[in-house]
């Protein structure tokens, strides 16, 4: 079953065509990797799915809803959560509060019940703290719940971002270079984490350059180059696709 489909999605910035008519689909429960050289338009695709960039053309459907042009908070409420390529936590707030930001969209308390601290509001606060702590336990950061997010080690910040995204109770989780800047061991742990997220029936889409991470973790790969989707298939198919080898794998990307 398709949970997400992109239909001819296009985005131009000034004269630059960042994404040119991308059409693809993501099956529910899959781990899908979006790969390609720098500047291929991968992050723009993610930004369009999560609503932070509005496509110029095309359609995006998520679980039966057309989500094109919706504001990010509406898309989160529908069940798509994300992390950022450059970590974007609330660095001055505590680890717990960061996760509580993800819980926000599943809470009900409004202005009046908050202003008067009504019983329902207090009950919800207690429940939501338990919920946030459960996510912190899931990523292994519960012991650091009151530390300031900005003071965490790099790998922990990445995991906190994932916990925060999971707190929104997503059906689709979008990870933009989750292993970026991680060492070998941290990357291994991340791969295990991605596996256990999938076990929670959360579909995952991720951008990653580390092929050692991508190949074993993903069921499906989408390959982009210059704003165009040049190939899709299983990691084995992609590895043997001559177009991909030429465009990406054969190329020393930073050289």
């Amino acid at each position: 079953m398709r949970i997400l489909s992109l239909n001819n999605v296009t985005k131009t910035f000034g004269g630059l065509v960042a994404v040119a008519g991308v059409s693809c689909g993501v099956d529910r429960g899959a781990v899908v990797g979006l790969i390609g050289p720098n500047g291929a338009g991968k992050t723009t695709v993610f930004n369009m799915i999560t609503g932070s960039t509005r496509p110029d053309d095309g359609h995006i459907f998520f679980a039966g809803h057309s989500i094109r042009g919706l504001r990010p908070h509406r898309i989160v409420a529908l069940g798509i959560a994300r992390t950022f390529q450059t970590i974007r936590l609330f660095p001055g707030l505590s680890v717990l509060e960061n996760v509580l930001s993800g819980c926000h969209c599943r809470m009900r308390s409004g202005l009046v019940s908050s202003l008067l601290r009504l019983p329902g509001q207090r009950r919800e606060e207690r429940l939501v703290i338990e919920r946030a702590m459960a996510e912190l336990e899931f990523v292994g950061l519960a012991g650091l719940w009151r530390s300031t997010a900005g003071s965490l080690a790099y790998g922990d910040q990445r995991r906190l971002e994932i916990a925060r995204a999971l707190a929104t109770e997503p059906r689709l989780l979008i990870l933009d270079e989750p292993a970026g800047g991680m060492n070998e061991q941290e990357t291994q742990e991340l791969a295990a984490l991605v596996g256990s997220i999938r076990d929670r029936d959360v579909t995952i889409m991720l951008i990653e350059h580390d092929m050692g991470f991508v190949m074993p973790v993903c069921d499906q790969l989408l390959v982009m180059e210059n704003g165009i989707l040049i190939a899709q298939g299983t990691p084995q198919e992609i590895q043997n696709n001559p177009k991909v080898v030429e465009a990406y794998l054969g190329l020393d990307e930073d050289a």
Binding site: R88, F90, L93, S114, R122, I129, L141, R146
Partner: protein, 358 residues
């Protein structure tokens, strides 16, 4: 019992902080008697000063929701104060409403105007928003000076506003207003403290820290900014009611741009987002100059210089806001520590957690 963050005490550490705050509040409650026993002649004057401080505390606390919590640079707060004061004056003098009956209407009127004017500008960033809010306060002042709809009495203002009364008891003397105003301050502190430590307050905090990230985590940033603006404005309207009934006469010059700047200064000087800071700021900005009346205009110069020095050496304010405290419920608290214990790193659970950060 309470799982919510930081209960009640606004002071420093734990039980001693609570006690100290309690003693302070109690001493404050007896202040009128103390002042009268010290000097029967000057007591009303000092009570008047304290009442002014109290009124500005209410106003600054309401601005603090907008400027401190939501981080929106709003320098037109006197506009909403004016709308509240004029709503009370008009309803009281022209329609014979009792003062307390006008209070909710004053708050509503200020909130409504805030919603209408903020709607198109709420997305503006920092400096742009600042300029527009300066425009708002000027428009309101000019409108009331020009006797808009023939209701506001033009530049002469409005007079003959009644005193507030509760169950047949009318507030007349400064000591009456002292209790009225400072109880309102207490109520404001309590309500806004709860608001700050709730889903609503957290949403504002996320917006202030990083609006894009807040939106991406599911916070309707536009809506929350607008709500913060409206609640702050409504509370300023409520303060307007108290002001009008205390002065009995109001005129446009009470609601100028410089009043807005003064409120802005109180919040920035005390510490954005910190209620204790705002309280201190009100005393320093509105109360302290009264002690130096002998120096006449030079005191303003000294005050200005002190502000400059402050902003250089302590830009976060005198009493900056502290992080919210959370208590973990039940078993979680046993595992990970329920109470906030200073800055020490928390005890780590056996084995599975990551190492502490250096």
């Amino acid at each position: 019992m309470t799982a919510g963050p930081g209960n009640g005490n606004g002071g420093g550490g734990g039980i001693w902080g609570t006690c100290l705050t309690g003693v302070g509040v109690l001493a404050f409650a007896f202040l009128p008697s103390i002042l009268f026993s010290l000097s029967r002649n000057s007591a009303p004057y000092w009570l008047d000063v304290l009442n002014t401080v109290g009124l500005y505390t209410i106003l600054a606390l309401s601005l603090n929701v907008i400027l401190g919590h939501a981080g929106m640079f709003h320098m037109g707060h006197a506009a909403f104060f004016a709308i509240g004061a004029y709503a009370t004056a008009i309803l009281n003098t022209s329609f014979g409403w009792s003062i307390m009956a006008t209070m909710p209407v004053a708050a509503l009127a200020a909130g409504l105007v805030a919603a209408v004017v903020a709607w198109p500008i709420i997305h503006l960033r920092g400096d742009y928003l600042l300029i527009v809010t300066i425009g708002i306060v000027e428009i309101v002042r000019i409108a009331i000076t020009n006797d808009i709809f023939g209701l506001t009495g033009g530049s002469n203002g409005m007079y003959g506003i009644s005193r507030p009364s509760f169950f047949g008891f009318t507030l007349i003397k400064p000591e009456h207003f002292f209790y009225f105003i400072w109880l309102t301050v207490g109520l404001t502190v309590l309500l806004f403290h709860w608001l700050e430590n709730s889903r609503f307050g957290r949403a504002l905090k996320f917006i202030k820290e990083d609006t894009v990230a807040a939106e991406s985590m599911g916070v309707n940033t536009t809506r929350y900014k607008l709500m913060a603006f409206v609640i702050g404005a409504a509370w300023a309207g409520l303060a307007g009611t108290i002001f009008a009934s205390r002065m009995k006469t109001i005129s446009p010059e009470s609601f100028t741009f410089s009043e807005s700047v003064l409120l802005f200064t109180i919040v920035i000087l005390g510490g954005k987002g910190s209620q204790r800071g705002v309280l201190l700021g009100s005393f320093l900005v509105m109360g302290l100059p009264e002690f130096f009346r002998g120096f006449q205009d030079k005191r303003i110069l000294v005050f200005g210089a002190a502000l400059v020095v402050m902003m250089i050496f302590r830009p976060q304010g005198l009493l900056p806001s502290k992080p919210s405290r959370y208590r973990l419920p039940g078993t979680l608290s046993e595992r990970y520590g329920g109470q906030e214990a200073g800055d020490k790193p928390p005890p780590l659970p056996g084995g599975d957690g990551p190492g502490p950060v250096a």
